[in-house]
């Protein structure tokens, strides 16, 4: 896969036991880090929070996760992950308006969805496995999560950021 279709990530984009009270705060803190690396525009932050309101991304896996993302305002495809100190409410993606106590949030941006189908498949398949989610949740250091993602998203990640 060419570099441009890889997702960039970095230890600085991984937050362990983030202490936040609501989804706006979670997404905001994660996005600020991504912004500081020049990977997104400031508009991205407002847009992704707004999008989460309208089209929630909570997924009711055994360990609930949320995958807020948009494709606009993103200079390079990227992935940021946070494990939360205490679960934060996100609404379920299935439109049922169910509130999920999310423990892991993956904020990401995709520049070209057609090119990146394989990456998205690996991404969702990785997070469908509860064993992966358990390991991610238990991680004590960003480096551990980066190492796991590197394996799970085999060849789809770019760490030069």
């Amino acid at each position: 896969m060419s570099v441009s279709s890889k997702m960039c990530t970095h230890e600085d984009l991984v937050l362990i036991k983030l202490d936040a009270s609501d989804r706006r705060q979670v997404i905001g803190e994660m996005a600020e880090r991504v912004l500081s690396k020049g990977l997104i525009t400031r508009e991205f932050i407002d847009d992704v929070i707004e999008r989460e309101q309208e089209y929630p991304t909570g997924l009711e896996f055994e360990i609930p996760i949320a995958i807020p993302h948009i494709g606009v305002g993103c200079n390079r495809s990227f992935l940021s992950l946070a494990t939360l100190k205490t679960p934060v409410d996100f609404e379920s993606m299935d439109g049922s308006e169910k509130i999920l106590p999310v423990e892991i949030v993956v904020l990401f941006g995709i520049t070209n969805q057609d090119d990146q189908v394989d990456l998205l498949k690996k991404f969702i398949f990785a997070f469908q496995e509860v064993e992966n989610l358990k390991k991610i949740r238990a991680a004590g250091e960003p480096a551990e999560i980066i190492a796991m993602l590197d394996v799970l998203l085999d060849d789809c990640l770019d760490f030069t950021v």
Binding site: E54, Y55, F61, M93, D94, G95, L120, K121, I124, Q128
Partner: protein, 103 residues
């Protein structure tokens, strides 16, 4: 030609993943198809399509009576095989009805 619309809430991941899996299933079943993306807000008025698959629960009905299936299991990875089976079954029924001119 089976005309499918995949509608989701403005996300990229959901449209891409669902479209990809449905296209795969249709290809394997050797059913000619054309897939068009749409937003969930548009589905009420869609026309000239044979089916709509949405990735979020919705109570909206299509004014042209186009059947709607909810494909969230394709994102969750739970019940996805059954969904695909049911999907293909309905696709074949719809295509049959077309060939017999009852459309």
């Amino acid at each position: 030609m089976f005309r499918l619309t995949v509608a989701c809430g403005g996300g990229i991941v959901t449209t891409t993943l669902v479209t990809d899996q449905l296209k795969d299933a249709l290809k394997k079943a050797k059913i000619q198809h054309r897939v068009t993306p749409a937003k969930i807000t548009q589905i009420a008025n869609i026309q000239d399509q044979d089916m709509i698959v949405v990735t979020g629960k919705t109570t909206v009905k299509n004014v042209n009576n186009i059947p709607i299936m909810i494909g969230i299991s394709l994102i969750m990875g739970v019940g996805d095989t059954q969904f695909i089976e049911e999907f293909l079954k309905r696709v074949k029924e719809i295509e049959e009805a077309k060939t017999h001119g009852s459309n």
